[in-house]
Amino acid sequence: MSTEQRPKRRHAVFSSPLKDRTGCFSWVKTICLTLCVAPALYIAAWWVAGRLGGRPIHQAMLDTGFWAIRFLVLCLAVTPVRSWFDWSRLIQLRRMLGLTAAFYTFAHVTLYAAQQGFDMGFVLGQMVTVFYLILGTVATLGLFALALTSTDAAIARLGKKWIGLHRLIYPIAVLSFWHFFLTQKIDIGTALVPAGLTLWLLLWRASAARSRRSLARLASLAMGVAVITALGEAGWYALYSGLNPRLVLDANFSFSRWSAAQQLTADFALILLLIAMRRLLSFTIVQSR
């Protein structure tokens, strides 16, 4: 009989979204949680106020789907943003953002079923036969698998396999965007902006480690993505519409309305400016010491 029993370390299945790893209250996580919940409250408030239009369930379904995509992009942005801003603590937000994307996806699919009166035979039938719904279904199942394996306990149990499994977020993102694009009736601008941001993040990840810190590199990637977005938009219209792709390209040089490439350029410029300011600040601090 052993006299000494080593306490086995238990990993939590649920950990507080308000506390950091050391168990202390975290302002960053609390603010992040608030921002994650805000769109849901906003949609609910609009629903109650009757501002979701004639088919509120349908509108809420569309809105939650869009927010799922947005949080997916934010989740993918954590690693790049950590690096750009030398802000390593940001990693503690990644799980929350990923789970939020999964929650909005769950709401999105549930509202879709609600719209069909929870006739699950019909709903499941559609989800496995209509092409753009198949894409969404596979992405949803993948995202749920990642959400379920996001607990400390699952991370500990899966060990090295966890990273491999969670790299599935990239194909899931591709399927989600594909689904998003196919649900647009004619104007794909709404889907192009988050898609362009994601492409930028992925291209940054794919660059050589030594060039990742370079602001010039990041700026040239941004320019490349803006051009790809403009060409992609015109190409989509050339392939799938009867509209003149020249006019679609020309719209990028007009200011009557923000085109997708223009919106992306503004987003990129803002992010690059913030990074430059951050670098300048730390440089000044180092100099003054």
């Binding site: 629903w47 109650v48 009757g50 501002r51 979701l52 239009g53 004639g54 088919r55 509120p56 369930i57 509108q59 609600a114 719209q115 069909q116 009166g117 929870f118 006739d119 019909f122 209509v130 092409f131 753009y132 196919l182 009736k185 004619i186 104007d187 219209y237 799938y240 519409s241 009867g242 509209l243 003149n244 006019l247 679609v248 020309d250 719209a251 007009s254 009557s256 309305r257």
Partner: protein, 317 residues
């Protein structure tokens, strides 16, 4: 003075809007709104076959839609009107559309082109009510009590020449109040068209009001066409021009998305769009999905128009 003699097939006023909707409409809307909040979800179910009444050849049941009238609240808050935005929730924005005064141009192959104010035109037209099923290409449908007059009366008034084979209608385009017009690659203004035999068919209607009120702006005030056997995008809104022309006109959606939407656009469940099926439709407000019917169930009045034509995808998209 306009003396309006009711023809035998016209509906008397009382037969038009079901009483509970008309008298208790506000209450009905409130109850409906409340049910959408909590329990509306539960009522939705996928239904099976619906048979529309064939319609008697005279009398009040002539165009009986065979389905309950859609709550006004839905018809006035769920709208496709791309000039105001590419989503359905545009009814607030649409209130900015100036509709008074409103002038309409009638031109092309007519004896004498004219410009007439909406008010003057209304004085010359036999106003009546029609309850029609309306099937959107996006696979939802509504039942609307329209007010207006038969399109054939407008054609008669325009006095077209024999060279006129088609009618092209043009919607208002006012960039000051219509943000959608700032998308420069869309073929604005919105144009639609009909073949002359379609325009003088007794079902073809000009809508100037609904639910016994003037036409709401989001639904195409002050004047629009209502073509119940074709997909909804054919029923162009807020019209400023009727042109009588020799050749089949190019239309907004045909130019924008020729793989999806054509000139004829007759409802047919057998011809899906490249992305979704047209076999079923969501009956808004009824909480059910029902099978779509060829010619939107109006074959008795319109199928013969197309008897000499090839019944392929071309005729049904």
């Amino acid at each position: 003075m306009t003396v309006h003699r009711r023809r035998e097939w016209e509906l008397p006023e009382k037969a038009v809007t079901s009483c509970h909707l008309l008298v208790h409409r506000r209450k009905a809307m409130t109850v409906f709104g409340a049910s959408m909040l909590g329990f509306g979800v539960i009522n939705e179910a996928v239904a099976d076959k619906v048979t529309y009444p064939p319609g008697d050849l005279s009398g009040t049941g002539r165009f009986d839609p065979g389905r309950p009238i859609t709550p006004e609240q839905i018809v006035t808050t769920y709208n496709n009107f791309y000039e105001f935005g590419l989503h359905k929730n545009i009814w607030r924005r649409a209130q900015k559309l100036p509709t008074e005064p409103w002038t309409i141009r009638i031109e092309g192959e007519v004896e004498r082109p004219i410009t007439i104010s909406f008010d003057d035109l209304m004085k010359k037209m036999p106003v009546q009510t029609r309850i029609y099923r309306h099937r959107c290409v996006e696979a939802w449908s509504i039942v609307v009590p329209w007010r207006g007059f038969p399109m054939r009366d407008l054609v008669k008034f325009a006095r077209p020449l024999s060279a006129a084979k088609y009618i092209r209608v043009t919607s208002m385009s006012d960039p000051k109040v219509m943000p959608g017009l700032s998308i420069p690659y869309f073929p604005w203004p919105y144009r639609e068209g009909l073949w002359m035999p379609e325009a003088v068919n007794e079902l073809a209607f000009i809508g100037t009001g609904m639910y016994d009120e003037a036409m709401p702006k989001q639904d195409g005030a002050p004047i629009r066409i209502v073509i119940p056997w074709k997909y909804g995008f054919k029923s162009a809104k807020s019209l400023v021009k009727f042109e009588f022309i020799r050749h089949q006109p190019e239309t907004f959606w045909e130019q924008t998305s020729p793989n999806f939407y054509g000139f004829w656009a007759n409802v047919n469940p057998k011809y899906p769009t490249p992305r979704w099926s047209q076999a079923y439709e969501r009956a808004l407000g009824e909480g059910r999905v029902i099978p779509t019917q060829i010619w939107n169930g109006y074959g008795r009045w319109v199928a013969s128009l197309y008897s000499g034509m090839k019944h392929d995808r071309h005729l049904f998209m």
